[in-house]
Symmetry: C2
Subunit: 197 residues, 2 copies
């Protein structure tokens, strides 16, 4: 059938990404199906292959929007009020991860086959987020830091990811008396102490 042209390809792409983000938020990544997205936006499954190369590409765009939103919040924390310290940034990150739990989990659970050839604009976004952390680290590190702020920022980012991802799956609760937020704050406080030591 068809030749509807109710929407341009760009519009269909945007509708699909928005629908997928909403469906992930509501039901989790594990319940997201290409067929479901198609149904949601009123197009046939095949149509999505007209506007995306694959399900991978669709998910990559969904996750990029999620990263975008977090980076925007981190940058906002820097621009209004006093410069944020590490615990301030943790509160932003933790708040985002809590408000957008399923979507944030999807960013890591749906990893591309080969991140090495992630698009430049995606890597740039990640680096923009890391730069905020980097500046907060540099602010407290003084003149001769034992580690470069860039390296410390990446350790913080990856370490927090470990705590939140294990926490989200429930793998922390079974071996820890402290909850995820407490462990995250302890982690950040220890890194802060190490920077100043």
């Amino acid at each position: 059938m068809a030749r509807r042209a109710d929407h341009s390809h760009d519009e269909i792409r945007a509708m699909a990404v928005d629908a997928a983000a909403r469906m992930i938020a509501d039901d989790g990544l594990e319940n997201l199906k290409l067929r479901g997205i198609a149904r949601e936006i009123g197009y046939a499954p095949g149509t999505l292959y007209n506007v995306f190369d694959s399900f991978d590409e669709l998910m990559m765009r969904v996750n990029a929007e999620t990263v975008d939103a977090l980076v925007a919040e981190l940058e906002a924390a820097e621009h209004d009020g006093a410069p944020p310290d590490l615990l301030d940034l943790l509160a932003v990150y933790g708040g985002f991860a809590q408000r957008h739990g399923n979507r944030w989990k999807a960013v890591f659970d749906y990893s591309l086959a080969d991140p090495t050839n992630a698009p430049d604009w995606y890597v740039a976004k990640l680096n923009a987020g890391l730069a905020v952390v980097e500046r907060a680290v540099a602010r407290i590190a003084g003149d001769n830091p034992a580690e470069a702020p860039a390296e410390t920022a990446r350790v913080l980012w990856a370490g927090l990811h470990g705590i939140f991802s294990l926490g989200a799956e429930g793998n922390l609760a079974i071996v820890s008396r402290q909850d995820t937020d407490t462990l995250a704050r302890t982690f950040v406080r220890m890194i802060d102490r190490a920077i100043r030591a």
Copy 2:
């Protein structure tokens, strides 16, 4: 057909778990299929449902063996020679993760729907591994540590998991000049410094 009884149920279980572990090591979790395991051990797919409740249960046993092997190496590091410090334990962990990359990744990539009701013996194994770290932390923490060694051990475990899992997926390489091992050592060194501070 059938009534072979070439093997007991216990034997079939062991054969399936061994085959799955080997297949994960060779080809990665993403290429492991129940049908493939059945073919490998010379039984029909349906037979695996005779001896396991589900694919989940099979994977749980595979992952338990992997955790077992790591914990054994950590405990061995404690029993021969001088008490290990945190960097010694990191070397054991990092060495294991490198030698058994695909199998170690599978432990976290294949998470149970609800870890809350993980079997007790599984939780006990995890806690045994954490206890080794805990003792190493306590050894350097002195009398009035800012954080309980048990909490520090869990922060270390989860943080390292973050670094190694992001590293394994290639998500660290695209935003970091340092490689995974360097970041892991920096992380452990900073936590060590925070404990002593």
